[in-house]
């Protein structure tokens, strides 16, 4: 089989779909007005922003007034957690999980340093939060749950509906970082008791540098930035209009194709997992069923992830070891530690994340290359004995 270039790092980021690029272009060129300008050009652009808001709301089962555009998932998470803490004004208690993205985890740590109490719930070895434990952790001053919808490393899904019920029962705000879920699995905010939801366009074939925050009507946070009145003062600054238009179209298209894509990717994923687990001393990380349709995360014992990535890269395969965002760091992933992996096993983990462009041929090629790369590295390993 001849060398191919295969991108299996869609959880890090995705290409922008051509329809989306085309929809954005007019807003760089002729429709460049500032939505805050009162003249005709400004008003035209304002309309486009508000239509994008409606489209985004519709795709999530929300109201347009519940959608706020931000610069990405990181910003949506920060605005929610810091904003709710600022709004509260006095110390309180936050419950989150120990496998959140750093944009939640580190904010929570900072809030803890500022005087709030934070419970970082453990997860089981599949990466699932236990709802009974969540319930048991509630204290009278608990004001916020922040539990991610799907984990970015191991793809494990959390029981959002159950968590939402607990939140409602105790009148606690519920934020979910759905950056990895949106565009992969259907979400209906009408039927979920979620108060805040973060999403980021570049994870579903939209542009980078634009995201959104869903904030349920009635929920309130204190804005972090001052400036103009944009996004009802929650995120001031001239709107990233092409980004907003791109986000909304990418989301609309992703949601329209979601079932078909899910089926297709799940079939590829199942085949990949089967093929990879055929390699000796290889384990699957994350939940076998309750996981994102596009996520495969395995640990190859005795070898180190970055070396595997480099080996794969030289064969044209793009994957990731732990979160792309934290791969500058050398500490083993906090997620893999939280599900109980020892350090060497955590270090040998690889995430393959599927996307729109991937085919059966990609998977065939991958399953041919990976065993070879793994074997070669294991021959250098001081702990491996074939």
């Amino acid at each position: 089989m001849s060398k191919r270039n295969i991108y299996m790092d869609h959880s890090a980021t995705t290409p922008v779909r051509e329809e989306v690029v085309e929809a954005m272009l007019p807003f760089y060129r002729e429709l460049y007005g500032n939505p805050s300008s009162v003249h005709a050009l400004g008003r035209t652009v304002r309309r486009a922003v508000e239509e994008a808001r409606e489209k985004t709301a519709l795709a999530l089962g929300a109201e347009p007034t519940e959608i706020y555009f931000t610069a990405g998932g990181t910003e949506s998470n920060n605005i929610t957690l810091r904003g709710a803490a600022k709004k509260r004004g006095k110390p309180g208690h936050i419950i989150t999980s120990s496998i959140e993205h750093h944009a939640v985890l580190d904010v929570c740590s900072e809030l803890a340093a500022e005087g709030h109490r934070v419970t970082f719930l453990p997860v089981d070895h599949y990466g699932r939060v236990n709802v009974n434990q969540l319930q048991a952790a509630i204290t009278p001053d608990t004001f916020m749950f922040s539990i991610m919808a799907a984990n970015n490393e191991i793809g494990t899904l959390q029981p959002l509906a159950e968590i939402g019920e607990v939140a409602r029962e105790h009148q606690i705000l519920f934020h979910t970082d759905a950056v990895q879920l949106v565009g992969q699995l259907p979400i209906d905010l009408k039927s979920l008791n979620v108060d805040f939801l973060s999403l980021s366009a570049h994870k579903f074939n939209g542009p980078k540098g634009i995201g959104a925050l869903y904030m349920r009507k009635g929920a309130k946070v204190t804005p972090l930035y001052c400036g103009g009145g944009q996004e009802r003062k929650l995120r001031p600054g001239t709107e990233n209009v092409p980004g907003i238009v791109g986000l909304s179209l990418a989301l609309e298209l992703a949601v329209a194709e979601i079932e078909e894509k899910r089926k297709r990717l799940e079939a590829l994923r199942t085949k990949m997992i089967k093929g990879l687990l055929a390699i000796s001393e290889t384990i699957l990380n994350g939940h076998p069923e309750e996981r994102l349709p596009n996520n495969v995360n395995v640990s190859f014992k005795h070898i180190e992830g970055e070396a595997i990535l480099l080996g794969l890269d030289l064969e044209g395969i793009a994957a990731s070891s732990g979160s792309a965002c934290s791969s500058g760091s050398l500490d083993p992933s906090h997620v893999l530690s939280a599900i109980g992996l020892d350090h060497p096993t955590a270090h040998g983990s690889i995430r393959f994340s599927l996307g729109r462009g991937n085919t059966k041929e990609d998977v065939d090629y991958l399953l041919q290359v990976v065993p070879r790369v793994v074997d070669k590295l294991r021959r250098i390993s001081p702990t491996y004995h074939a």
Binding site: E304, E306, I380, P382, T383
Partner: protein, 127 residues
């Protein structure tokens, strides 16, 4: 990220494996990133005549290990003791700043082997 020479050593590492009749064995591990290297030396008249390694680690660690084994062959033990981690990195044409510490593995493992040898340890008992 890595230059061509690093990638070449990673792709075709020299002197991989164990030496069944090694005169000295050294080991070094980085607690921080979990990398470990084992080095095997064959020594004749205070000179390194053969060398092998096994490494658990990233691309930089593997390439540094490979490069080091090339650098020490034929050197006296005193000369070998003078090889620094920086020398290995330099010989590789440089490493990304974030990855520099991964190359600290190799020279230290070598020095460990020589020290073991000088202390009279580390000789493999032929079975």
């Amino acid at each position: 990220m890595y230059n061509e020479r690093v990638v070449e050593h990673f792709s075709n590492p020299r002197n991989v494996g164990e030496l069944p009749d090694a005169d000295a064995i050294g080991e070094n591990g980085s607690f921080k990133c979990g990398d470990t290297m084992k080095i095997y030396l064959k020594i004749k008249d205070d000179r390194i005549v053969d060398v092998r390694f096994l490494t658990f680690g990233c691309g930089a660690a593997i390439a540094s290990s490979s490069m080091l084994t090339e650098m020490v062959k034929g050197k006296t033990l005193d000369e070998a003791m003078e090889i620094t981690n920086q020398d290995v990195a330099d010989e590789l044409g440089g490493l990304p700043p974030l990855k520099l510490h991964c190359s600290n593995l190799a020279a230290d493992a070598l020095h460990n082997a020589i020290e073991n040898y000088r202390k009279g340890k580390g000789k493999i008992e032929t079975a």
